[in-house]
Symmetry: C2
Subunit: 304 residues, 2 copies
């Protein structure tokens, strides 16, 4: 049996899995993200054991960042300037590729999730869409014309500058920008502002109207720049399902009819959606990166 | 001799040209944008005459918008919901393709300019970059992974929501959004705010510091979402060359070191640049669209 391996490499835990897709996810390992050597050793042990039972054909790593996803770069496969203690300039791909002897696909956690949603979830059949996660941080991955967006580095959608609303004096929690999207609308921003976590606030709390306003501003920016066919909203904060209709309504108000697509102006409940893969979007994204690394579903080389 | 034809279809004038590139631009026609039938008839006459002298192999149209650039759509090739009198739902491609019997490439004026800069100008060798024009309006075209961005419709970068600065009470000139990027930083916004046009204001006027601030916010959003390798700033307002260093400085301040690419944080004078094709970016962009329509330099089909 030929299997794929995937690592959802998060700042608090690593989720490792082997399988071939959402209907066939086999062994899974969850380990806390401690020191790099220890965490990678435990992941390696898991995949080494799996590859004794079955043929492991490729590994995918969808990682917290910032990372270097450029295969041409000397630091390809590294987590780069993260403030997480011990993890700056850590090579994730090198040790695993050497020990397992398989191709390793590597991208941001959110680009991985976007690829997973494209392969098996809410973005099947689309070629231009965004996956945005709203949780401890805010981050986004995107596919444009069938390719994951990288460019100079990779997107940092959480750090979009946004306008503080006139009736709001919260300074924001981002240490770099204060009131960027993550600073105003992430889980920690909600908790700091209201004194209660996003999981605890009641459905009818005014927090949600304001949260929807700021997310609406972020989505309006995404639409003006990328013109996505769909926006997938995941992450812990979006587990509060009552946010979806509020965000859709705010977005309509903010765009004010300018982007004249019925998908946005009329029935936008298929335009702003939760992940099709739910909470498994991360690890399945890693599996999709592995599948792509086998070459079976490679992106075409750019040829303008 | 095999030539390409290009139309820079603007809201105030149509610029038509034949040639093969920037070093070989032959006949050129400039006509005011009057009624669609009249304007298209004059363009057609020009290309018909040119094709009696030489073989015209393809035509490119880089058009004001909004447009329908989707070849699968029944309204492909049309200007769609423009407020410009007489031009809403006007088919540009159909009549010209039928009369000239050549393939016609069609895209937004700014995507055309982006393609032209990629082919012959300031974006040669890049695969992910933005062309932003700041003039009567603000609009942007982008290439990502070697492909022009379309998605649901096409980007509308001028309508990015941005934050009004605390010391500013100007309401903005955008009829849809008031203080979006175009509402705050376009040529008409400058003229309305200061009572003098962008062409007349002296170099040391405080207008430029504020203009650079708003453009910096727009560029920060572009960087957070698209991670471009370069941003090209064109249009009449950017003809004021003293704006470039101000915008570069504001951008550094606004990102505050978060996007850790030396291209942005250190020497960003090669990151924020004027068009390599200068004021001919528009018509040469149309020529690049024509060249692509011949199939000689086609974009690859998406294959994720």
């Amino acid at each position: 049996m030929r299997l794929l391996g995937g690592i959802e490499a998060g700042g608090t835990k690593f989720v490792c899995a082997v399988g071939t897709g959402p209907e066939d996810l086999r062994a899974e390992l969850r380990v806390p993200t401690t020191a790099p050597a220890e965490t990678l050793a435990r992941a390696l042990e898991f995949f080494a054991a799996a590859s004794r039972r079955d043929e492991l054909t490729a590994l995918g790593i969808a990682s917290f960042g910032p990372i270097d996803p450029d295969p041409e770069s000397p630091t390809f496969g590294h987590v780069t300037s993260t403030p997480k203690p011990g993890w700056a300039q850590t090579d994730l791909v090198g040790p695993l590729a050497a020990a397992l002897g398989v191709p390793v696909g590597f991208d941001t956690d959110v680009n991985g999730a976007a690829l997973g949603e494209h392969r098996w979830g809410a973005a099947r059949g689309l070629d231009t869409f965004v996956y945005l996660t709203v949780g401890t941080g805010i981050g986004g991955g995107a596919m444009v014309g069938g390719r994951l967006v990288h460019g100079l580095l990779h997107p940092e959608m959480g750090h979009l500058p946004i306008a503080r609303r006139d009736d709001d004096d919260f300074p924001g929690v981002c240490p770099f920008h204060g009131s960027c999207l993550e600073g105003m609308a992430s889980g920690p921003a909600i908790a700091r502002r209201w004194g209660e976590s996003a999981a605890e606030l009641p459905d009818d709390h005014p927090a949600w109207e304001l949260e929807a306003h700021y997310l609406g501003l972020g989505l309006a920016s995404l639409i003006c720049i990328l013109s996505p066919q769909r926006i997938i909203l995941g992450g812990g904060v979006m587990a509060r399902a009552q946010l979806f209709p509020l965000v859709r309504q705010k977005l309509r108000e903010l765009l004010n009819g300018y982007v004249a697509a019925p998908a946005i102006t009329e029935e936008n409940d298929r335009f702003i959606v939760p992940p099709g893969l739910g909470r498994r979007a991360g690890v399945l994204g890693a599996l999709a990166l592995a599948e792509r690394a086998t070459g079976a579903r490679a992106e075409e080389a750019a040829s303008p």
